[in-house]
């Protein structure tokens, strides 16, 4: 009870409420701008959150996360271009509704759907994450090491069309994580130690500059390729009747519940993300409405059902993706990977320890997510005529501003030590350039981040497990939970190979 009250107090104060509101507005704007992703938004605001308290900082990032996921529906509906992959499936019926002159209802429906999905998945998050976290009590070094391996293999196999590319970038992330100092002996583990021993490289490649580089700088370079004709013209539409009729929403109860289930479940599987969930829920809604007994409009014909199904699902992913973050320390998607990074940087270790020692922070995160969803509903409904105007901001202006924000964001982490801070800017730039070329060659960058996040966990627990087992490397096959994780890791690698072979 004390923790619950403390959690409420940490969120429901003017300072935190204002930061969450700011995050929400920025998130909606970022989500609405095609090419800018939720992950990039969170990565850019990470340094700012670093300057705030734990709950306030997490609230700001959760606001950006929710806002960006929901804001992506604005260009999807008005222009037929999804703001980010979360709104891919919203395009079909959203654009069709706009062509029918029902843009207002489509935008309003998308917002209400995002709110319902967000709140229902928040309930799932509050119910399931403590249970899963309790399960981690049984984890020793062998289980933790194999859990890190599962997180890496799943994200490597899901995020890349080519498995080898996913694993290669994951291995590259791990290789970067091992640079710096040895975790047990503090001895240097850097190239040319005589030359570089007094440089900031001794501290290793820091997570925030890497995140900013891979998701911020690389995106700027990638979007520069499309700068010609980079100003989108929002159509001059009359936006009326924004709030969908309650009776209509109630009649869609089955679509809403199934989409929530799909979104939460897919979100909770590490490495998956919203783009899979939105297509699955859209297809499911199509089947439901195609049934002869269904009184709903047929999905695909430009109706509210086709907008709400993927929008419920993509915001349900936000709560679902936080389940493995809080309970296991394994992110559900690249956005939550950055949120996990924010938690780790604040010294918060996810898992049972978080729920037993920092329960007030867990409550604060849940309340911040609740408030983010409430703000998302309020701001999007109030600003339904204003937010589409951000589409007219030219990319020529936006990209340099994002670049500078990325640089200064990377700098601010070591804000008092100018040399180390300048080094972090260089890390962000170098990883940004690497990320850009990788993206162009169809290599995923999310596994690099996961490698950087999980590298320490993997190494410390791998070595500890082997040492405790008297140098026996087969120790991982003697623990039932570790065996389950190894099977999962193998399964995540083999399954895409089998699927590809079937396709060919």
């Amino acid at each position: 009870m004390v923790e619950l009250l403390s959690g409420i107090r940490q969120v429901f104060n003017l300072n935190t409420i204002l930061w969450i509101a700011l995050g929400e507005v920025l998130g909606i704007i970022i989500g609405a701008l095609p090419g800018l992703t939720a992950t990039m938004g969170i990565a850019l605001l990470l340094p700012l959150s670093f300057q705030l308290g734990k709950a306030t900082g997490m609230g700001l990032l959760l606001g950006v996360y929710c806002g960006a996921v929901s804001g992506a529906s604005i260009p999807a509906i008005l222009l037929g271009i999804p703001g980010n992959p979360n709104a891919i499936a919203t395009v079909y019926d959203g654009q069709a509704m706009t062509r029918k002159g029902l843009a207002g209802q489509a935008l309003g429906g998308a917002v209400v759907a995002s709110f319902i999905g967000g709140i229902l998945s928040l309930i799932a998050l509050s119910l399931f994450s403590p249970l899963i976290a309790r399960f981690t009590l049984a984890f020793g070094p062998a289980e933790k090491a194999t859990l890190a391996l599962v997180g890496l293999t799943i994200i490597a196999s899901v995020s890349a069309r080519n498995l080898a590319k996913g694993i290669l970038t994951g291995a590259f992330g791990l290789a970067l994580a091992f640079i710096g100092t040895d975790p047990f002996t503090d001895t240097l583990r850097i190239p040319f130690p005589a030359l570089l021993a007094k440089t900031p490289l001794v501290g290793g490649i820091k997570l925030i500059p890497a995140l900013i580089g891979l998701f911020g700088v690389s995106q700027v370079l990638y979007d520069l390729e499309r700068i010609q004709g980079g100003r989108l013209a929002p159509p001059q539409l009359k936006i009326e009747k924004v709030f969908p009729p309650l009776r209509k929403i109630a009649s869609m109860w089955r679509i809403i519940l199934e989409s929530t289930g799909i979104g939460t479940l897919i979100g909770a599987i590490p490495g998956t993300g919203a783009s899979i969930a939105v297509f699955l829920s859209y297809e499911r809604a199509k089947r439901i409405t195609a049934s002869p007994r269904s009184k709903l409009e047929k999905v695909g014909s430009g109706c509210l059902e086709g907008v709400m199904a993927p929008e419920v699902a993509n915001n349900a992913v936000t709560g679902g993706a936080l389940i493995p973050v809080l309970s296991l320390g394994i992110p559900g998607d690249s956005g939550t990977a950055v949120l996990l990074g924010a938690l780790l940087i604040k010294g918060v270790v996810p898992g049972y320890q978080l729920f037993s020692q920092n329960l007030d922070l867990v409550y604060a995160i849940l309340f911040a997510l609740l408030l983010s969803n409430v703000f998302m509903l309020t701001f999007q409904l109030l600003g339904v005529r204003i937010f589409p105007k951000v589409l007219s901001i030219p990319m020529a202006l936006l990209l340099p501003v994002i670049l500078v924000l990325s640089m200064i964001g990377a700098y601010a982490i070591e804000g008092q030590a100018v040399l180390a801070a300048t080094f972090d800017m260089a890390v962000a730039l170098v990883l940004g350039i690497i990320g850009y070329y990788l993206k162009k060659a169809d290599y995923p960058t999310a596994p690099i981040v996961l490698g950087l996040i999980l590298g320490g966990l993997l190494e410390v627990n791998f070595r500890r497990a082997v040492k405790l087992a008297g140098g026996n490397y087969l120790v991982f096959f003697t623990k039932p939970i570790a065996v389950v994780f190894i099977v999962l890791a193998v399964f995540s690698v083999v399954l895409p190979l089998i699927q590809r072979r079937r396709r060919t």
Partner: protein, 237 residues
Amino acid sequence: MKFGTRRVIPLVFLAVSLLYLAFSFSLQQYRMIGDERGWDPGSRALPIAMGFLMLGLSIYLILRETTKEKGEQTVPPAARKLILLTIVLSVLYILAFRFLGFILSTAILLFTLIYFNYHENVRLKLLPVFSGGLVSSTAFVLLIYTAGRFITRSLFYLGRARGCELFTSKVFSAFVVLLFVAILFAVLLISFRKSVSNTKTRSMLIAGLVAAGVTEGLYLVFKQIFLVNLARGIIFW
């Protein structure tokens, strides 16, 4: 056959993995304290393993990319120039950051990138107008920065002299400066809106205003509110 990014990346990874392996093998093997029996796999075990994993996968991808995958999206030459300009200026920005300081280096970087992005290309014939714009924009940024510092200091002294705590607050003075900048920009935009119809002048004006606004905004948020030590460089006041 075109030697595109898809084929270069595995080669780069091959070089990286070989260098990483050389680095890993050059490390001394340290074991945990109290591990007399040598059961700990040691400090270089996983780096070596990652080096070999990267090596194997990059060889596999080199063979695969040459035989199966082909073709990639080509970048328009104008966009390629803009990307190159962005990378080169970012490198120079990092190198000059401590010497020139945050205000000057950020203003120059922003103005240059916005100006050329606005024209969607880097052309030599834009240089004369650009140079004039850069000088005026930098002067404008310095003017705003100086005015901001003056307002902040005046509020601080006033607050101390009159015993008004609000005026000494860094957040309050940041808001006052932001308000001043917003009013100044609104006045400038209204007065230039009708008089400037020329594209070159308009792009310069927009680049200058955005560069100044963003630079001052970042300064207020990071330096004034969150006390990040943004390098002053040659701007000593």
